[in-house]
Amino acid sequence: MTDEELMAAVCRGDQSAYQTLVSQHLKAISHYAFRILGSHSDTEDIAQEVFLKMWVNAAQWQPQKAKLSTWLHRIAHNLCIDFLRKHKRMTTDSEIDDEADSEGSSTSTQESTDQASGDKRMQLLLAELHRLPEAQRSAIMLCHFSGFSNQEAADIMSLSVKALESQLARARRSLRSTLGETANNE
């Protein structure tokens, strides 16, 4: 069944259609939310709310205006922004460390110096990503990970394409600068 048929069924209260949509979109939504929030528990709360909103507001989705994945990411983006504003915080350093530690533990058996260097660069990348302003981080996540076009990412973030490209440019420059310096130092 297509997204349109599934959403029509959700509008009628069909829970099996809801289950199908959750299984199709949960992974992408939770990954995106995690990259914005940086916390597993907050991400799970947001993902749960995204699909609750999908159930309640299914009739508001207009397939001729946006793909379902775009619409769901927009809901997730708005919830993440609201969450960050409400809690008046961005990702804490401890959470970055948690993630970095998990990276390290998963590759601790690797003794190659290249691997160690790669791990260091990865940790640096994660830390730098978390240091980016939310808008820049969202832009990078949507365009690099979620595979959205600039136009779709701009729609999700309620920005013009120009503004999105500006955010993307700043984020890329910042990441390249940080990782480039590290490479030069090594």
Partner: protein
């Protein structure tokens, strides 16, 4: 993007600053750049080693981004599926439309609208069976119609035709 193309199309070449700006905006995949900018960038890359280095750095960052580990959320799907969902309340009109024109079932898509279309005729037959709507078969005037027809059949109209 079109503005960019028209703007930069007026230049035949791209300098390093313009290359850096485009690289920041569109990323390291020159295939995703506007065609005019991509052509100019390719020309610059042939001659400028700094531009090549910059492109290599950007490619390295993007490779690293692609290698980022995916977070795992065990139990999240069950949690989302098991959350209580509010009941859907449809209006009677929506329910009627859903019944009349079902999304699935080829036969139901035909017989339901047809039966709905036949409904006024059935109602008419039933009502006319029970109600006279002012027409009373026992009415004297109605009986007089029979008499009138008998008299009409006995009337000799040939005389009128033969009179001079």
């Amino acid at each position: 993007m079109n503005n960019d193309e028209s703007h930069t199309a007026s230049h035949n070449t791209m300098n390093k600053q313009e290359f850096t700006t485009a690289l920041d905006t569109y990323g390291s995949d020159l295939g995703s750049w506007p065609s005019v900018l991509a052509a100019q960038a390719n020309a610059l890359l042939v001659t400028d080693s700094e531009a090549r280095q910059l492109l290599a750095q950007q490619e390295s960052v993007e490779q690293l981004l692609e290698q980022m580990p995916q977070p795992v959320f065990p139990g999240l799907q069950n949690r989302v599926l098991q959350q209580p969902l509010p009941a859907k309340s449809q209006s009677w009109a929506e329910q009627l439309v859903d019944w009349l024109i079902p999304e699935q079932g080829f036969s139901m898509q035909w017989w339901r609208p047809l039966s709905a279309a036949c409904l006024p005729m059935l109602v008419g037959i039933v009502m006319s069976n029970y109600f006279t709507f002012g027409v009373d078969v026992a009415d004297q005037g109605f009986q007089a119609w029979d008499d009138e027809l008998v008299m009409l059949s006995l009337t000799d109209t040939s005389e009128a035709a033969t009179l001079p």
